[in-house]
Amino acid sequence: MKGVPASPGLGAGAVFLLREREVPIAGCLSIEPESELDRLVKGIGIAAAYYRKLADRIRFKVGKEDAEIFEGHLELLTGEDLEEGVRTIILSEEMAAETAVMHFAEETAEEFRQLESDYFRQRADDILDIGRRLAEAIYYGSISDPGALPDSCVVIAEQLTPSGAARLDTEKVVAIATEKGGRTSHAAILARSLCIPCVTGVPGLVEGVRSGQLVIVDGDRGVVDTDVTEAKIEEAMLRKARERRTEQERMVWSASTEARTADGSSVTIAANVGGKRDAEQAKRYGAQGVGLLRSEFIFMRYSDFPTVSQQVEEYRGVCLAVAPEHVIVRLLDCGADKPLPYATAPAEDNPFLGLRGIRYQRARSGSLDDQLIAIAKVTSEGFPIKVMIPMVISVEEVKMVRSRLKDLAPQDETMPRIGIMVETPASVMTIERLAHEIDFVSIGTNDLVQYTLAVDRGNPAVAHLYQELHPAVLHAIDRVVKVCHELAIPVGVCGDMASHPETAIALLALGVDELSASINAIPELKAACAAVSRKQLGELHGQLLSCESADQARAFITPLLASSYRRWLEVYG
């Protein structure tokens, strides 16, 4: 069965079905309001005891901050408003207690959905979750606890609510799969933070499996395999192990090989990472720093905007992992294809032309400041951490970030270096102006190609027109490099172009200073660099600028990656 790949890895085991106990509430009318009020009070008592236990367990297992969230839920449950509100509904509508509770929860959730702040709009789900628990407590006289999970089980549920996720004894879970939800559901965030493979949004999943049957969850491909035998599991595990072994050999080679051209001039290859773990892995592959820290990946591991202190810890962790090399943090880049669960924004007709990158953070009070404070703090600790602004179209945006940073950075401390992500045609056309305001440039080719060619690469009808070696793209990059180099500003590339040998060679020919690639592409990039000389790259530069099509450009590049690179591929490919 196919779903959304939400957390990478492969997990296999027996299914544990996590079922919500159904509470019949539809149109349940009360016969006896007085007794319904009694049931409500009893239910609140049962649910409160449950939340107290939950908070204690979370404090012990996860930490104080997460436990305090559930203490807040306990207060909402036992506070004056809920009981009073439900009472009123029971008496005026003559409803049964659990029906009245769900009505109250729905009404309250709706009020939260009306609020301005993304954070508070997201709280609607918490209220519904609390309401469901209370309804269950009233109807059944208890709240079901999955309790002891069997060892190495695959948890399958329609969806995982915050309290549902909190109740799992995650040490026994080898994989999670849910019928509802996407990459940013609670289940997905929990799975990613615990490194458990997870697939979400699998239609018909709960009906399609039996408790105890064997399944394989492939979080890389987003597949739940229900037609499984022990032999098949063994085979899948072996295949993963083989892949890991080959990868291990590539890694060892990469770590012990310097990035140099055939004639010995050095090349800088950094890594794109999503957090501390990635950064440690990048170091093992011999990356020379982090050319792109996707801060939205860090944000995705939290159920709400991480605080300044949480961010400081995350950024510091990345810096420590690759020390003494530099780390470039891209400011939160959410919206369009990168939604954050707690950062809901109104639906847009054209999300890629909408509220994304720096525009999104400007529209939100607080989140930009928090991020800048955290980065400034890590800078003041002496780490070489830099700020990269995504989706820039004007000098004013850069000045705004610089002045915020000046206001927020500790007095008399060194300021972090500021750069921009060149991904809009506007930033290419005005690079002369922008260059005076910045310390470095990083070209985000994925969006630059899309915006320059006006092609949505996710649309199969035009995907073939998405060409990274299109003359317009090559000339755009050439222009940025020329202008920046006149002012001694270094230019890196952190898009997909930097991760593929052929396009990476084109970037080196255009004079790019740093390739920031996905971690497992680093070995073949080092091998590709070693196959070409600076002289060849110089010739290629002129050839690329004279091309009239991407195919022509490719025809110039491919022969350069001939024999020595092919031999490397035979061993490590």
């Binding site: 207060e75 506070g79 809920l82 301005e116 605080t307 300044v308 009070s365 607080g366």
Partner: protein, 91 residues
């Protein structure tokens, strides 16, 4: 009765965790507390009503304290809204 307008500066405004701490703090104080943001108003002891105001950093709120040691109470709550829950100041 004392009242004061405050710009909330604590990092998380009145999100679930800090709002709950605010409520517990109000309960320890001897006086009656009301908090107001724009048209909305909530008793200081009601977490749900406080959260429904959706107070974030940078918001302007009016604190009203009435009763025993209202001065001390106003001072304590003001500090809370500006510095955040104790021990969690800006790091």
């Amino acid at each position: 009765m004392l009242e004061e307008t405050i710009i909330v500066k604590s990092e998380e405004g009145l999100h679930t965790r800090p709002a709950n701490k605010f409520v517990q703090l109000v309960r320890q104080l001897g006086c009656h507390v009301t908090i107001r943001k724009g048209e909305k108003e909530a008793p200081g002891t009601s977490l749900l009503k406080i959260m429904k105001m959706g107070v974030v950093r940078g918001d302007e709120v009016l604190l009203i304290c009435d009763g025993e040691d209202e001065e001390g109470a106003l001072d304590t709550l003001k500090r809370f809204l500006i510095e955040g829950p104790a021990g969690e100041g800006q790091s």
